[in-house]
């Protein structure tokens, strides 16, 4: 009750704070004046150039463009207003629709530049936000002025800029683009003047990006991203669609069919073949998803690729990677003018999470972390400067990782140490970081035990587990899942990892977990599921088919000689690669959480007291 009361109080406080927020907006008179002045200057300079721009614009419709721009938040408020004012101005004065389109196209690339330049500006603190904003504005003005000169070849420029993001040498890709955009060939000669400044800017951006990439936690995965980016680049060349266009125009049905090979992603091509699983077929992950999106932070974009390619797998790993990326987003976030930090950040993060969801459906752990983060955002004090708020959020993320994942693992491990004694034979399935941690701990206590690792095709994650356990000198046996009945009589305990624990007590975990639990149950071997409470979900589910994920069916094909090799040619044959299955609570003896060792059915209890755990 006390806890409940407290949370109520916080809610009220936050509400009060939110109400307060609205009042100070009137104090921004000065800044607004400044902005308006700047806007006027821009408009004048733009209008001067407007007459020139009569070239064929990329076939974007004016309708969706503003919507997509306003929907995103990394673009600063200033720009949004300029866009809209320009829109009205041009429509009233010239009434030429093409110009409007041109304008949008012209303004659109700038957010990329701002996003890129953010990490490069260290004095970007909100305390001196007025000044820094002015600086940025000045920079932007300079850029824009440079752009005005080359307005004639705007479309090609845009593409090159996009490509510059993707590849290191944007100059190489320019000729290809020029040929693609043969309709606007008249622009080609003028293009020759530009590349100097463009290239310089690109070089700066790339340097910043590289520095950032090094700072990233997962150094190894950057390779894969590089590959994917190259792939997406090649895709770009072949389909000849400017990224801006892919984002804005809805007519993108043609590209998905080619993309899967290019990215090596997991889209099942046999849409609707297995009727039972039609609902699980995810939207096509075509290249446009992975091409640098102006509104997606690079760290999130990288994470998306890592999710989609399954280089970051496992509930905990995904959660940690997400939180690290989230911290980058928070650090690089710049509050738009006249907006509250917390709310605009909330919207920005939501966009990022949506992007990740498109790459791969969010893990329950990630979703929970996001929920907690959002909760934290609403409770931010409004009277503090942005830097302090960012520090607060960074601190929150750190404590979340430490408490929910790190300390929880220790707690679970200490619970289980009592259960592991000399002569024990632990049976485990696949690879779980938590179970690895427990085994490591038990070995450190000099317990004499051995581990049987069960594995399943096609992922064979158990081999990774085997490798890790060998490092600690734990004796292991290894069998495939269909031989689980062969080794089960030897086992004294079954330890299983979980992806999530559902509110009805079912355990959602990697496919095969349920089978291991089933056989263990038949042999009367206790089944212990190890699961931190941050993986608890409020969903109810009774079978593995309603909500699941499909992986690449090609993984089932063993080699060139395999009979399934050309399954695509046979419309009646479908390999199916399910990701998760559901273990009913009657097959699980107990769930080990950091709170206690519980029966599965106690999940709702934990879910109720959960908000007060940890932080």
């Amino acid at each position: 009750m006390g806890c409940c009361h407290q949370s109520c109080f916080w809610y009220q406080v936050s509400r009060r704070l939110r109400i307060k927020v609205k009042s100070p907006s009137s104090q921004d008179e000065k800044t607004r004046e400044e902005i308006i002045a700047a806007r006027e200057a821009k408009k004048i300079s733009k209008l001067g150039k407007k007459q020139k721009s009569t070239l064929a614009a990329p076939s974007t419709e004016p309708g969706p463009a503003p919507a997509s721009l306003t929907g995103t938040t990394i673009i600063t408020e200033v720009e949004q207003t300029t866009i809209t004012t320009k829109l009205t101005r041009t429509t009233t004065t010239s009434g030429c629709k093409k110009n409007v389109v041109e304008k949008q196209g012209a303004v659109a690339p700038t957010p990329i530049a701002t996003v890129k330049s953010l990490p490069g500006i260290p004095g970007d603190e909100s305390g001196v936000s007025e000044k820094s904003r002015d600086q940025i504005k000045a920079e932007r003005e300079a850029k824009k002025a440079a752009k005005q000169a080359a307005k004639a070849n705007k479309s090609t420029e845009k593409i090159t800029q996009q490509l510059g993001e993707v590849t290191l040498d944007g100059a190489n890709s320019v000729p290809g683009k020029a040929t693609v955009k043969a309709t606007s060939l008249a622009t080609a000669p003028t293009e020759q003047k530009k590349p100097v400044t463009k290239a310089e800017r690109r070089a700066v951006q790339e340097a910043q990006r590289a520095a950032k990439a090094q700072a990233q936690v997962q150094g190894k995965s950057s390779q894969s991203q590089g590959i994917s980016l190259n792939a997406s680049k090649s895709k770009l060349n072949t389909t000849s669609t400017p990224p801006r266009e892919t984002e804005l125009s809805p007519s993108k049905a043609s590209s998905p069919s080619k993309s899967p090979q290019a990215i090596g992603n997991n889209t099942p091509k046999s849409e609707g073949r297995v009727k039972l699983f039609n609902h699980l077929l995810t939207a096509d992950k075509d290249a446009s998803l992975f091409i640098n999106d102006a509104q997606v932070h690079p760290s999130i974009a990288r994470l998306g690729v890592q999710y989609a390619q399954r280089t970051v797998v496992g509930s905990n790993a995904r959660c940690i990677a997400f939180l690290h990326a989230l911290r980058q987003v928070v650090n690089d976030f710049e509050t738009p003018a006249k907006k509250e930090f917390g709310r605009s950040l909330d919207a920005a993060v939501k966009h990022h999470v949506d992007h990740l969801h498109k790459c791969r459906p969010l893990a329950v752990s990630v979703f929970n972390a996001y929920k907690q983060f959002k909760n934290q955002l609403t409770q931010l004090p409004t009277d503090k400067p942005e830097t302090e708020l960012k520090e607060l959020l960074g601190h929150f993320i750190d404590t979340y990782i430490e408490n929910q994942i790190g300390k929880a693992a220790q707690a679970i491990s200490s619970f289980l140490q009592e259960k592991i004694t000399d002569g024990d034979v632990l049976l485990t399935f696949g690879c779980s970081s938590l179970i690895h941690f427990i085994c490591e701990e038990a070995k450190r206590r000099l317990v004499n035990f051995r581990v049987i690792v069960i594995d399943s095709r096609p992922n064979c994650e158990g081999q990774e587990m085997l490798r890790r356990l060998h490092v600690h000198g734990i004796p292991c046996s290894y069998v495939l899942i269909n031989a689980v009945g062969y080794v089960m009589p030897e086992a004294t305990k079954v330890l299983l990892g979980a992806h999530a624990l559902l509110a009805n007590g079912y355990v959602m975990a990697r496919t095969g977990t349920a089978q291991v639990a089933l056989v263990a149950h038949a042999h009367n071997v206790p089944v212990l599921v190890c699961c931190e409470t941050h993986k608890f979900s409020e969903r109810f589910q009774t079978d593995a088919i309603v909500y699941n994920e499909l992986s690449d069916p090609n993984q089932l094909v063993r080699n060139e000689k395999c009979c399934l090799n050309n399954w695509q040619t046979n419309s009646r044959l479908t390999p199916l690669n399910l990701n998760y299955d559901i273990t009913p609570p009657e097959l699980v003896s107990a769930v080990v959480t950091e709170v206690a060792i519980l029966p599965c059915t106690s999940v709702p209890v934990i879910l109720r007291i959960k908000p007060d755990i940890g932080y």
Binding site: R273, K275, V453, G512, A514, L556, L578
Partner: protein, 352 residues
Amino acid sequence: MKEQPLKEVTQLIHAIKVGMVEGSYSITNKTLDIFKYIIMSKSWENADALMQIVRAQCRILQAALPQETVTANIARRILKLIREEFDLLHAKVQHFADDSQASLSLHKLVTQTSETNICVDYSLPQKGLREALLDHLQEVETELETSSENVCVQAEEHIHSSEIILTLGHSRSVENFLKRAIKKRQFLTIIVAECAPACRGHNLAASLANEKKVELIVIPDAAIFAMMSRVNKVIIGTHSVLANGGLRAACGAYTVGLAAKHYSVPVIVLAPMYKLSPLHLCEQDAFNMVGCAEDVIDYDSLAAREAKVYSPMFDYVPPELVTLFISNNGGHAPSYVYRLLTELYHPEDLEI
């Protein structure tokens, strides 16, 4: 007397070991050919001598191929045949009125005096035994040849249209059975568990995919439980049927059986009569074989360096997980298997 293998027996053992002869059916066929050859050509004086030879060769086959129970099964059939024919001829000579020695009726079980039946002297020379045996052998051969077909015919009795069927690995009986079902019934969905590490399920799927009007889903073994909730029937083949009605089936069958039990899905086992063995094996070590582990994990991989890796070939499936056996003689409940065995083999031949 030292038992020496016949040249044909040696050849068969070699062929099976090298993998030139595969599948229960062809092994049974080849074994039957050998015994036919023994009956035809070998110089044997009386029934007793013939039975000695058959037993000796069977023992050799069993010692060389302990996992192939069908060879022993067919030897038992031959022994029973010899006994029957001998009794029949003997009875004719002695003008016994009652025939029908083939089955033991309840009446006979109660009324028979034990001495008369057991103490038959098989060493007596019997005229026309060889011809009678060859005649009877012909019947056994035709039964064997038609067994697969006879099993398939029953497909219509067990499968209705738009049913979802799960099977494991690749059994020839199951393949023929399902092909028949696909011809007769529409909109079937067949889920094939691949049965790692050999993944012979892929072959079955590829073979069945040539048929029309069928949907084939290949799943990894790990997804059996997840898919089982949608399955109407499980149809599997088996390596042999044990005396208690249990199965010695491909590795993974136990999990399939348990999952089916969990979801109350009927498990139908296709087992022609020659797969019935009068053996009681209730634990893994009694009959299991461990295959090559290279398919499970690469020998040169880092993970494999110190791990013990097993690749067992069979699973024991207890009779309570089996709903129905379909043999060439029709359907049988697992609890009825013992009765079939007494009809099929002579009690004295259970131990060879």
